[in-house]
């Protein structure tokens, strides 16, 4: 991990990204009642998740601050 990358990770504008592995994805989708291919996508090499070691088929859980709801959870599928 380069210094620059660490800085990026800590930047206050980058919300928290949590990796959900392939195996757990089906479970999550059942919980949300959403089909997997409807999810918005995120590139494997995206600076925000690169360091988490994502693989194709994983899902990233993003916890963002929200103007309307305080905090909101968003999911994106890794491609």
């Amino acid at each position: 991990m380069s210094e620059k990358e660490e800085q990026q990770k800590r930047h206050y504008l980058v919300p928290e990204h949590v990796l959900i592995r392939k195996e757990k994805v089906a479970e999550l989708m059942a919980e949300l009642g959403i089909k997997k291919d409807a999810l918005p996508r995120i590139d494997k090499t995206d600076a925000a998740i690169k360091l988490l070691g994502p693989e194709k088929g994983d899902v990233v859980k993003i916890i963002r601050d929200s103007q309307t709801a305080g905090q909101t959870v968003y999911y994106r599928r890794v491609i």
């Binding site: 959403i34 929200s66 309307t68 709801a69």
Partner: protein, 874 residues
């Protein structure tokens, strides 16, 4: 229902063999019609190409005009020509391959490397190949000398400064092997580069280039036909010359001419080629011109379709119709129709309508055939009518129509109204519905659409009716609310001084449909508040502060001063539908904040607010015409005290300004953090000017309020400012007080001459008066210098409005277009048209702003109060 989903669309080059196979006939003669007016056999109007006249059968498919969509023909070119859109592609190919053997100008192992990288697929490496091929002197394959190809756009090629003709180019690219084409980006199963050199031209069917017969009987041909005639003519001349063995020079000239005509046939705006002109000098509209741009097929005809059952006219205000109504001019109503089903319940009525009036225009039988109703067949048709028929009648009072004003920026730019047929030629709308449409009456035009199905009508009525749109779906407060006169009128009515005699009260109440006179509440007289209470629902309870009381407080009045002031400054209290105290002004009625409007629209069914607005309109137009509200110069004259104050305050400011200048020049000025010395100085100067202005403004406002607190109210601009229906104390200040600091770009004007704004100032003078301070007002008039300063600010304002509307309009348009297909799905998510997710919860909190109070989903305080009132909570 989706029958079939399109997986992908592929655009490709049409190869010469397919063109010949598709062709119904070879076109050979440039003549279109013979001398008897019949289409020439083998000409551009050959009946094999389709039919455009009714009754005639197509020679290719045997069908009539309705069913035959036309057939392509073809034209064999005597000499090949370059397709002008593909010159660049050919240049690239010629610079990467060998003229003699067609191999890529790279060593065999390098080619191999790229082929391995492509893994047997078609990948475009041409840019990379070109970089290396440029340096090749000899072909690595056949050792032929490599010469550089230069394209003289769009179609002329030079090889080592010598012209190379399309026939040679075609031969060249034919030689390129398949596996080499694959790494140049060509999938040979789909396209071969030699097809870019045309040997055969497709002739479009006559259905896309119909000839028009003018009234004088002269036939006029389509631009495309004209262009094709040119091509055929040159092609035939070339053929004759070739057969006669003409000299090379003549052949080449004709060849170039053929190239020119095919180039302009595809695109008559090709760079470097003079556009082909019509006999009249008008440039021809050829294939690309038909499709491209604002007036092209896509933007003009496909995205911008025109509709039936619509009308457009100028709008005009009419306070005597309801907000959900629309005054439709008779002339438009005569043209607009709506189909009505004949059922067992309306059969008799419809029959009578067909017999008696001139209204129904068409009947539609159950099998779909239509018949026009005229005076001759009226009785016969009435007899024929039965259940299951439809009658297409003109629109009448009460029909639902959609009304729209461009630019349609939000959903309330189009709302449903009930039609009301009225004389004249213009649409009439209630002035209260101006804000959502952003309409005024300085010549605005609007569009009206008539829904044609029961489903459409029901949907419009339930979802789009004006009275259900009072609360904005964007920010959750009223958008449809009175402005100007409506607010002024209610203000006048509810001021404590307004009382009516029995006769006046009867007149006023009758105008809002009340026929039973309540008991007088002010001795023998009726108060304005009482009249106003008549248009409120009987169970309404509300309490809030009026804008008027705020102005009085800010001006320094004490409610205990006199009884009258106390009454004016009282809180607005509505108890069981009775206005007990307070003044109704913009705090109760205005767009965005009006508490009364907000409550009526939120807590009651739509009819209630519509009725309330009906009352407001009638009462205010009555009262304003009776009492009169007007403006005069006299009301802007100020007392000697104010004049003295003004001079004193400005004198002080000038002194302070001088002190500031002095400390600035000495450098002893206190610097504002984050600013430079001169920035700080500028800021101090601007602040100084605005402080002064504020002082005088308050004093003037306080003095002017006497118009309103006298026994007999004087209705003028002051009342308007007080009710916040129009104008503000700043306007008053500018007319009666002084203008203050002229500003350009949020500061004092800076640019002008060297170190000064005007040459009559001294160089380097940075004082108040030299920096754009205006001590005069509009009433007295400015001096020349002040006028110039003022104009500098005025000019900037003018530029800003122009630029910002343009920029923000385009920004908004792009945003709206990208969001327009998003949908809040039944499961609470937001999805695109392709069912992809955008948000997991609509708005992240799942709240629709229309159901909120100014954006707040649950007002805890209010809910608590409600529960407390009910006794369910302590």
């Amino acid at each position: 229902m989706i029958m079939k989903r399109i997986g992908s669309v592929e655009f490709n080059f049409l190869d010469p063999e397919t063109v010949r196979k598709m062709s119904s006939i070879e076109i050979k003669t440039p003549e279109t019609y013979d001398k008897d007016g019949y289409p020439m056999e083998g000409g551009l109007m050959d009946p094999h190409l389709g039919v455009i006249n009714p009754g005639i059968k197509c020679k290719t498919c045997g069908q009539t005009m309705k069913n035959c969509s036309g057939h392509f023909g073809h034209l064999e070119l005597e000499r090949p020509v370059i397709h002008s859109e593909f010159g660049r592609k050919l240049e690239l190919l010629m610079n990467t391959t060998c003229k003699e053997c067609g191999h890529i100008l790279l060593a065999e192992e390098q080619v191999k490397k790229l082929q391995d990288a492509a893994k047997g697929k078609t990948v475009d490496y041409s840019k990379r190949i070109l970089l290396k091929a440029k340096t090749a002197k000899k072909c690595p394959n056949c050792s032929a000398v490599v010469q550089k190809t230069v394209l003289d756009k769009p179609t002329n090629f030079f090889l080592n400064k010598e012209r190379i003709y399309p026939a040679a180019i075609r031969e060249w690219v034919e030689k390129i092997p398949e596996d080499h084409l694959a790494i140049l980006g060509y999938d040979v199963k789909r396209v071969r580069p030699e097809w870019f050199v045309l040997t055969v031209l497709q002739v479009p069917p006559i259905t896309i280039r119909p000839s028009i017969t003018l009234e004088s009987g002269i036939k006029s041909e389509d631009d495309l036909t004209h262009k094709l005639v040119d091509i055929i003519r040159i092609n035939n001349r070339l053929k004759d010359n070739l057969e006669a063995g003409a000299p090379q020079l003549i052949i080449e000239d004709l060849w170039d001419l053929l190239q020119y005509h095919t180039t302009t046939y595809f695109d008559n705006n090709t760079a470097g080629v003079p556009p082909a002109k019509h006999r009249s000098g008008r440039p021809l509209r050829t294939i690309i011109q038909r499709l491209k741009g604002k007036k092209g097929r896509f933007r003009y005809n496909l995205t911008g379709k025109r509709v039936n059952h619509a009308a457009r006219s100028i709008i005009v205000p009419d306070p005597y119709i309801d907000i959900s109504e629309l005054g439709v001019p008779e002339e438009a109503a005569k043209e607009l129709t709506v189909p009505e089903f004949v059922t067992e319940w309306n059969l008799a009525t419809v029959k009578k309508m067909v017999e008696k009036s001139d209204k129904p225009v068409y009947i539609i039988r159950p099998n779909g055939t239509r018949r026009k109703v005229s005076d001759e067949n009226r009785e016969e048709i009435a007899k024929e009518l039965d259940i299951g028929y439809r009658v297409e009648r003109n629109i009448q009072n009460g029909d639902i129509v959609l009304f729209n004003r461009q630019p349609s920026l939000h959903r309330i730019s189009m709302m449903a109204h009930r039609a009301r047929i009225m004389p004249g030629k213009v649409f009439r709308i209630n002035p209260i519905v101006c804000p959502p449409y952003n309409a005024d009456f300085d010549g605005d035009e609007m569009n009206c659409h008539v829904p044609q199905t029961e489903e459409g009508k029901a949907e419009a009525k339930k979802l789009m009716l004006v009275r259900d749109q009072i609360i904005s779906p964007r920010y959750g407060s009223p958008v449809i609310a009175p402005k100007e006169d409506g607010v002024s009128g209610c203000f006048t009515l509810t001021m404590p001084q307004t009382v009516f005699t029995k006769e006046d009260a009867m007149q006023l109440l009758y105008s809002i449909g009340i026929t039973e006179l309540p008991k007088p509440d002010k001795g023998k007289h009726y108060s304005g508040k009482m009249v106003f209470s008549q248009i409120l629902p009987k169970d309404l309870n509300l309490e809030f502060e009026s804008y008027t009381s705020k102005v009085f407080r800010d001006a320094g009045y004490d409610p205990k001063e006199t009884e009258l002031i106390g009454e004016i400054m009282d809180k607005v209290k509505i108890v069981n539908g009775k206005l007990v105290s307070g003044v109704i002004d913009s705090a109760a009625l205005s767009e965005g904040k009006g508490r009364l409007v907000d409550t009526l629209a939120r807590e009651y069914p739509g009819e209630v607010i519509e009725e309330f607005y009906r009352g407001v309109n009638r009462i205010t137009s009555y009262i304003l015409t009776e009492k009169g509200m007007t403006a005069s110069l006299a009301e802007f004259a100020v007392s000697d005290e104010i004049e003295a104050l003004k001079n004193k305050v400005i004198g002080e400011a000038l002194k302070k300004g001088e002190a500031l200048v002095e400390s600035y020049e000495k450098g002893s000025l206190e610097i504002i953090p984050g600013r430079t010395l001169s920035e700080s100085f500028e800021l101090y100067m601007v602040r100084l000017a605005s402080e002064v202005k504020e002082k005088v403004e308050k004093a003037i406002m306080k003095e002017k309020l006497h118009y309103v607190i006298s026994e007999e109210m004087i209705l003028n601009t002051i009342s308007m400012i007080l009710a916040k229906s129009r104008g503000s104390s700043i306007n008053l200040m500018n007319i009666a007080g002084f203008w203050g600091q002229a500003s350009v770009r949020e500061g004092r004007p800076k640019k002008g001459f060297d170190k000064r704004l005007i040459t009559s100032n001294e160089k380097g003078d940075v004082g108040l008066l030299a920096g754009g301070f205006i001590r005069s007002n509009f009433l007295d008039g400015m001096n020349a210098k002040e006028y110039f300063y003022h104009s500098m600010g005025g000019r900037q304002g003018e530029v800003d409005t122009g630029v910002s509307t343009k920029v923000s309009g385009y920004l908004y348009r792009r945003l709206a277009n990208s969001l327009k297909d998003l949908v809040a799905a039944p499961d609470g998510t937001v999805r695109t048209a392709a069912n992809m997710l955008v948000q997991y919860q609509y708005g992240e909190d799942g709240v629709f702003p229309k159901n909120t109070k100014g954006g707040i989903a649950v007002d805890v305080k209010e809910e608590y109060k409600k529960l407390k009132d009910k006794g369910e909570m302590k």
